[in-house]
Symmetry: C2
Subunit: 428 residues, 2 copies
Amino acid sequence: MSTPLRLGIAGLGTVGTGVIKIIQKHADLLTDRTGRPITISAVSARTRDKDRGVDLSGYAWEDDPVALATREDVDVFVELMGGADGPAKAATEAAIAAGKDVVTANKAMLAIHGQDLAEAAEEKGAVIRFEAAVAGGIPVVKALTEGLAGNKTLRVMGVMNGTCNYILTRMESAGLPYDEVFEEANALGYLEADPTLDVGGIDAGHKLALLSAIAFGTKVAFEDVELEGIERISIEDIRQAADMGFRIKLLGVAQMTGRGLEQRMSPCLVPASSPLGQLENATNMVVLEGDAAGQIVLRGAGAGEGPTASAVMSDVLDIARGFRVSTFGRPASTLTDVVSAKATAAAPYYLRMELQDKPGALAKVATVLGEAGISIDRMRQYGHAETTAPVLIVTHKTTRDALDHAMTGFAATGVVVGDPVAIRIEAV
Amino acid sequence: MSTPLRLGIAGLGTVGTGVIKIIQKHADLLTDRTGRPITISAVSARTRDKDRGVDLSGYAWEDDPVALATREDVDVFVELMGGADGPAKAATEAAIAAGKDVVTANKAMLAIHGQDLAEAAEEKGAVIRFEAAVAGGIPVVKALTEGLAGNKTLRVMGVMNGTCNYILTRMESAGLPYDEVFEEANALGYLEADPTLDVGGIDAGHKLALLSAIAFGTKVAFEDVELEGIERISIEDIRQAADMGFRIKLLGVAQMTGRGLEQRMSPCLVPASSPLGQLENATNMVVLEGDAAGQIVLRGAGAGEGPTASAVMSDVLDIARGFRVSTFGRPASTLTDVVSAKATAAAPYYLRMELQDKPGALAKVATVLGEAGISIDRMRQYGHAETTAPVLIVTHKTTRDALDHAMTGFAATGVVVGDPVAIRIEAV
């Protein structure tokens, strides 16, 4: 096979230029590995006149990504524009309608329109690949779809938003409050234009929803991901958690329970000595658990020019090698509807609250827990210098329902000051 | 595509029965994922009458694996017998000659005959896949061959022999000497019939040689792997290393240097806080470094029924999906001959020696290092209660040549008692 594989690349930001650099720099290597040249027919971006540090003179230019996606001389449409709708979706749909294969880094588009796009691709015999949409340079889509294809997936977990992990580890190491580190991250350009995408867990939630679909053979159901961001994590909780041997991570967890698919993206306590607990800065980590393979941990850069471009190239080169796999690892028509279970899996919880410093206060809290059927694993009450005393409790396993019941109970005691903090402790 | 993919499985030990269990238990799941049924036509093993805990009644039996490998009704020959030569090689060659695809867990056979087998397969249009041969359930062959296909590989590292890592971490945690933990591991059934394969680094060396070929596009050159086992690692060195923030691992490192391909499988000091340093017990870890992706770390079970069977199934299912990739990720005819470089990459070293407790002894040692062009990063000399005093030195980066020169020099000082210990410190 020496027919070139011809790309049309839409979006010339960091990732797009990274892809072009790889193709220019490693032309021979890529041909050696796939048996055919990888070429670029045309590119497209919002602004034409801009120095991107790569030579684009050999490629046709299209102002309109739809026109790019449907060009005669394009075999694979590489969508690196981003955005769930708009030009990215229009061009992807046009590419598929024209029978082109699609490689995309667009987690939002797939998290929302993945099922429709996968069905359309299947009808046309085209493939959609999205390694770059999840955890940057880590080949996790491949590991799950192909590497663990012989497994029933038990659980998928991951720290998949580098910015959140940077903020949380920086708060801990520098002893700074959330707001201050948030501003720092912003100044460093780590945050999306809409920072809620990062710190609200939405971006990571998109990624989790995509992995869930592959793992459990369900239709992508981002709307069923229970989302909780890191905005309310205090330096106090980070310190107390550390003191008890835990670290707080924005952790995604997807698992099939007896009552349905549970998908959560929320702050969790994990053991400080676990691989997830040890994850520093903007690094990403995904943990895949299969009934045969056991626990597989993958760690790497979750963003950046090189890592994301590497993931895009992995998909492009698979296509060059003739690999054809359904978007979510099985025919789109066989993906099942999600029955969503809201955090039904029981877990221990970390609780922190301020108690009025008066006799019987602690007893009232303990009574509330007892009545909710929650037993206490560990408890700490701190010095009484103030009029309120901080109390930390680690519960034994309990359900979210029981916990919510207790949280209501705490308010009714009259001795709990402010809102108690409850953070799930995930067994990793 | 609903034609079944029909397997012939030779070798019904732990892995073989594990594969059969997956195929029986997850028949529908596998068909959903690949679009076709995965069936077993025939099996073969040394002993027929043995309860293996799986129902073999639906499969034809062959006493001779060669006969199995060439059956009309076998599409993929699954070789799980082991051994570099003998029946495994004969049956693999026969399968290839008959145009069958091969899936194998046999690192020894591929490390020694990989090039010949890959060439033979290519000629026949057959593929050889070997995910299960390296690091058990971790999909590392796939990650390197496909996931990082857009990268120039910079370095491959790994702790790929679970038994050795068990021994080293157990020595540290229990404070026991090597011999005692070796006996423990033996009693637990952790060691190969010939334990040198494990503790001598041979088994791990086979795995490194296979990854090297993929990473650097070179012919498999196991004979060029510099091998050093863990037999000489003392509890004293483990303790001293820990005290300085390091742990000792049997670490494989492959990298292309200006002078050729360097492949080492030897005990190394790595930072205790690094992912490799934190690796406990029999778990495996592989670190892949690409020029675009950066550092990717993969961690999981390196052995055992489930994990290894999962890896075998990954290859089988790729074949069912129609994926065709060259054995080492590019045509065998294009793999280059290895120019072997013996540990030319400079590194810091850990040195431990016993000095006679007399004036000027330390000066003599320091002079030897200075004359060899080796500068000292850190040095510790311990109490003088005995007639000899232990001295620990961490050097700055130096070459193995300079170090060997110094080692000879130490002997000539007349103040160094016994053989000094030198262990490379790997930057991970």
